[in-house]
Subunit: 356 residues, 2 copies
């Protein structure tokens, strides 16, 4: 079976790096099974949720340059992992590597970004580690807790479950597109990108969902990972334009690129994708709505292990393995990345119709 | 008063970076007050200890090149922080940035280093985050727990307390010296450096000590921080050669440098420095000895806010502020760093005797 975990480069690297590590018996989740590590410790009634995430490629390729955004994202990527397990946020530890010549304005903006993202997601800065190097590097670790109630991981969805997104999709890819757009006559549009981790939503979703994962790497990589972990397929239904953020749609149309590129990643929008059993999805939606939140039903879980979506006017199987590995394979070259997606798009136009 | 926290560059940066951050009410320790953050959460009988630490400068300046050592140290620096609060280790989250062209041998050695250090310190790998960049970067976060019993932080020592080291000192500086020795006829001696976090010792020390801190930044910076945080002074008594590791002594003598340079940092030996009330120090020592451990009594807490030690054959006040800031001020140039220490040493020979 080609669609196993190890055919995705990132998964196979993680497996290589972690083989031989003994797992702690207090850990609830298996490797890769959830966005945050879940621990049940003797002497503690709470389940602890711990996650660590860095800004590395985003800084390396120059996607995040604004110090406020860097601070905001260093916290938000971790808060989003807590959201995806439905944890109540507690605090964050920062590990910052800062250029020795960074000026006061830079440091103040970085700090404001961290502070604002903490406020927005209910986290406090617990401590951290500061180092100096010409290359900025930011990583953080977030701690959350779960009182009694169900455990939510990436695993557990079943055919016929409804697939939801916590909000409109595509802003992560659209932001990257506008930052790197080359060969354009106009200067790249300065797009607003300041995702809020879906922390409150996650705490509610935990009581309804059969699986959940955030779209930190983009929608298609997230769908692909859910498909691999659960031995199911995912069918996106309806029109793509109905699930995409208007600003993202505007950007992709201005660049004359297909709408589904907004779902390709690798830079995501930090929404949650989650599944709800068919029979409870209407009650879930109305409960969410009563809280002033409108999650978007984007598709359904199917048996056949593939991701399909409406492209070229028909339900099309998407080569998610190739798409997930693409950015690594082109070594982060954005123009090459887009060119390869265009080739994939043209190939799909030639393939015969698939039905499942 | 010159000897406040903010006259050390690192402290003042940390203050600038953290001002305005709201602290979490469940956090026991204040900023900089302990090697790990301590949390008492509602619904949990345990105190949680959380710490994050990176290898940044060590990789940047090429001090750690061997992938096994890199993996070992990424875990050990964090385990050592848990040791310094006397926590029982639980697990570690790794945040690794790896060169895309790293080969299998490199990755296997890195992983073995992580795995061996985890075994040595009673930690398990809980999860992590892997990124790619030409520049390797390793950071980790460790979680430990404290059941009932006293809380141990960097604060609480009082004049007349005895100052202990968990083991012989100076290997961290000696290792750096041998790695960077330049202008030498012989190739640098390949010194063994593989510090073990004093995790078991820390759990015992917690029941005796009035303050504790690990020497991750070297002995003098650690003494300096304890002095600043506690408004006391520290007097190292006896001969320096009695508290230094034989291999470290050998290296510093071969380089024809003063013995006290081994205490200067910024690369430390990851021992614990801790204080025990005078009246219980003999009972403490015999309890330790019964467990097969021989902590070294290196000095005492005094009232006058200074660090003194035997240099040039007399009890000499050491300019710890200058020494702590030195490596940053010379921008990591090791030869300049040693040259400035030599100047300091020569100046001390000229100053008049101090007595406290």
């Amino acid at each position: 079976d080609l669609r196993t975990m190890k055919h995705v480069l990132e998964n196979s690297l993680i497996e290589r790096l972690t083989q031989g590590f003994a797992r702690n018996e207090s850990q609830i989740n298996g490797l890769q099974d959830s966005d945050a590590e879940l621990l049940r410790l003797p002497g503690c009634d709470l389940v602890l949720a711990l996650t660590t995430d860095s800004l590395a490629e985003e800084l390396e390729v120059g996607l995040y340059r604004d110090p406020y955004l860097i601070g905001w994202m260093a916290v938000t990527v971790n808060a989003s992992d807590l959201a995806a397990v439905g944890a109540e946020p507690v605090g964050v530890l920062l590990s910052e590597t800062i250029p020795p010549d960074a000026d006061d304005d830079f440091l103040a903006a970085l700090q404001r970004g961290v502070s604002d993202a903490c406020s927005a997601s209910g986290l406090h800065v617990l401590g951290g580690d500061t180092n100096f190097s010409p290359r900025i590097h930011m990583s953080a670790t977030a701690l959350g807790v779960l009182a009694d109630g169900p455990i939510m991981t990436r695993k557990g969805c079943r055919p016929r479950d409804a697939v939801f997104a916590s909000g409109p999709l595509g802003l992560g890819s659209a932001f990257a597109l506008t930052q790197f757009q080359s060969g354009s006559e106009d200067p790249p549009q300065n797009m607003m990108f300041k995702p809020r981790a879906r922390v409150r939503e996650g705490q509610m979703v935990r009581h309804w969902a059969t699986s959940c994962m955030d779209t930190s790497d983009g929608v298609i990589p997230t769908l692909d990972q859910l498909v691999r972990l659960n031995d199911v397929g995912i069918k996106l239904t309806g029109k793509l334009e109905d699930i995409l953020h208007p600003d993202a749609l505007y950007a992709v149309r201005a660049a004359d690129l297909p709408e589904w590129f907004l779902l390709a990643g690798p830079h995501g929008e930090f929404e949650l994708l989650f599944t709800v059993p068919r029979e409870s999805r209407e009650r879930f939606s109305s409960t969410a709505s009563a809280l002033g939140w409108e999650p978007i039903e984007i598709g359904e879980i199917v048996k056949h292990q593939a991701v399909t979506m409406p492209i070229h006017g028909r339900q099309q199987e998407v080569d998610t393995t190739t798409i997930r590995n693409l950015f690594t394979e082109v070594r982060g070259d954005v123009n090459q990345y887009v060119a390869k997606l265009v080739t994939l798009h043209e190939e799909m136009a030639k393939t015969t119709l698939v039905h499942h």
